[in-house]
Amino acid sequence: MKAKKLLALTLAVATMATSFAGCGSSDKSSASGNNSGTAGEDGAPVEISMYVPSRLADALYTPDTMTFKKLAEETNMVFDIETSLNSEAKEKFSVVVASGEYPDVMAGGLGDINKYGVSGAFLPLDDLIKEYAPNLQKYILDNNENHAQTAASDGQVYAIPMLTAIKTAMGYCIRKDWLDDLGMEEPKTIDDWYQVLKAFKTNDMNGNGAGDVTPLILDKAWENYYNNFADAWGIELNGNNDYWMVRDGEMVFAPIQPETKEYLATMAKWYKEGLIDPEFITREDTNNFHILNNRAGATCYWTGYVAGLNSSAEVLANDSDTNWQVIAPPVLEEGQEPKTFSQQASVGNAAWAISANVDEATAIAIIKMFDYVYSDEGSLLFNFGIEGESYNMVDGQPEYSDTAVNAENGLVTYLRSNGMQALIGMRQMPEYEAASCANDDVRKQLFDYVENDYFYPLNPTITLTEEAQDQYDTTMSPIKTYVDEELLKFMIGTRPIDEFDDFVSRIEEMGIADMAALKNAEYAKYAEILQ
């Protein structure tokens, strides 16, 4: 015990020492400016330093990585690339910025960049974009949704984000072959779902006796997104977004909406009857555990992933008829439009930005480089690589070459180790998503929700101004803890649903109205850009 404390202490102390040392040097670097980047007016390449997180541990990016090498050539630059593994990137990002001596280009989370950008660590890009970057102008400033999601709390753009290709996120997936065995239709309403789940529970679906199958899988432990079925009531209970949602043009706190009570009552009933995994709160990797062992009837999970399991050897070994299919989100009554809140925002979390320490000429060179990455040519580079090497044009469409498709560890690993799909401000192409699907069925399922437009409007993550954030943190921390706790208690029945009104009034006592006011003040700005 003591050794561990000592270790913890040493680590803590070391961390503090680092930040301490970093602070001392920050003045120095900002005073001397940055001398690594001098723009080449005479055609000499511009040298810049950049930090980009790598996707794979055994293929860390270097200036010789396929895409970055090509990018440097195309934009007449020389890159000095610093990197670390993606999983350590968030921490590394803060440490590097705090040190004061960070590279000219920093890739990191959009939220982090905006936060530090407002504090003065990164250049505001609006003017640079207007003057030098037509592609960035087109996809960010002129696209209201993207602009609103990219802008920081002061309304300026500090980061060029990754634009995602398809909205599909978690879908409602079900064992179609079992539905056929039972002679049942795809469930549409919540009542249909109840009948189907009940049938999965009471019939011997997998040959291990009735009751062996867990009818519905919800992932609390990994994704913390498990209230998918609230879709039917038009509510999004997303703890990762502090449970905020947009309703009638303003931000409301979803847990205190009357629909939440009905939703929770339904879930409590399903839980009590064993239709939901009784251990969903603590079970990690619950989807793989159940699906690979042939014990899941339905799940709310990443559509493409679940569809891909249809061809998993492990799954087929258990039941060669296994057929997971994504179906429309549930509704309350027949005839209502099925919609889900689970979706990828068009603006992804990965982004990159320009250090506030660079001189103007370098900043211009960098914004032009950012612009190139957003161009059609640049998009091809970061989605498909280099023509004739990693892809070929077939009938005007890019197709991955045999080298890429038959690469030793599979296509995705090949792409990631050669710097495609890097976590930077790039545009993901739908063709990439389609081309990386294992087969037509997976492709069809992945695009199903997009083609049918099964999506509610996105509930945006609204960042607050600095002062508002302070006030928000103080009041919201206990509220969030309370809601996290009570939602689960209602679902597993340790708190009766009759007490829902007490739950609501407790949240009101804790000051939710003030928090909604803070959120709405910022949401107004977001909505204005969105107009």
């Binding site: 404390k5 102390v13 930040s19 803060s94 504090s119 009784p278 251990e279 803890t481 706790e485």
Partner: protein, 302 residues
Amino acid sequence: MLTKIKTELYRNRYLYIMILPVLVWFILFCYLPMGGMVIAFQKFDIVRGIFKSKFVGLDNFSTLFRDPYFFRLVKNTLLINVFGLIFGFPLPIILAIAFNEIRQKYFKKISQTISYLPHFISSVVVMSMVIQFLSPDAGIVNKLINAFGHESIYFLQIPKYFKTIFISTGIWQGTGFSAIIFIAALAGIPKEQYEAATVDGAGKFKQMLYITLPNLAPTIVIMLLINLGSIMNVGHERIILLYNPAIYETADVLNSYVYREGIMGGRYSYAQAVTLFQNVVGFILVAGANKITRKLDGTTLW
């Protein structure tokens, strides 16, 4: 005066040279970074750094004390530590004495090694094992309960079980290792005392009561004092690995709350304020207890 110091330095120069690296280590890694504690009184901004962040006085502390969950967090922290001390503290002493009484040398070595092995297993592994063992579906504990004809119990979803599970895991993992210091103290007891006692006709039990325990007393007191210092601290890693929102009621402690709502949200100043609060309370307790023990039997930390 100065010459006195000089002669002293010169006379024991080798000793001073030997301690120099340790001193440098302490200054570099313990005392200098303590300056960082100042962020508890600031609104720390990572870009502005320690020197330029705005001072906000005791704001971070008042945020903590006004938090609706403050009392629940302190209560859980204290209960886990107090029960941990009551049940966990005597065990290493008993274990050490028991080992000391084993005459069979190999058996002693082997069982001692086995007893402190759990200490070297990562908390992540231990907590996953606990979750597996307690699983209502396939866990060995519930299989036993089923075998006796009872329904499975969802241990990790029912608040009242958490402290017991958490503390007993800690005891299982730490007892053997904590016993080492007592075993070392036991080795230092002069054999003559036992021989004299045997001559005087004292049995094993009387020897333990009148020789072993009094000799161990200073070590026991010092260990107790050190433990008191961390009475407001429950390491957040082990809690976070084991808890879930459904049992926050008994499982959420200061460290886990601060980790969740402070560090994760980038509120470093607030997190530092909480740590400072915990350590000040710990320090007051240790200082107070130190005074008491000094009066009682003269054993002190300083």
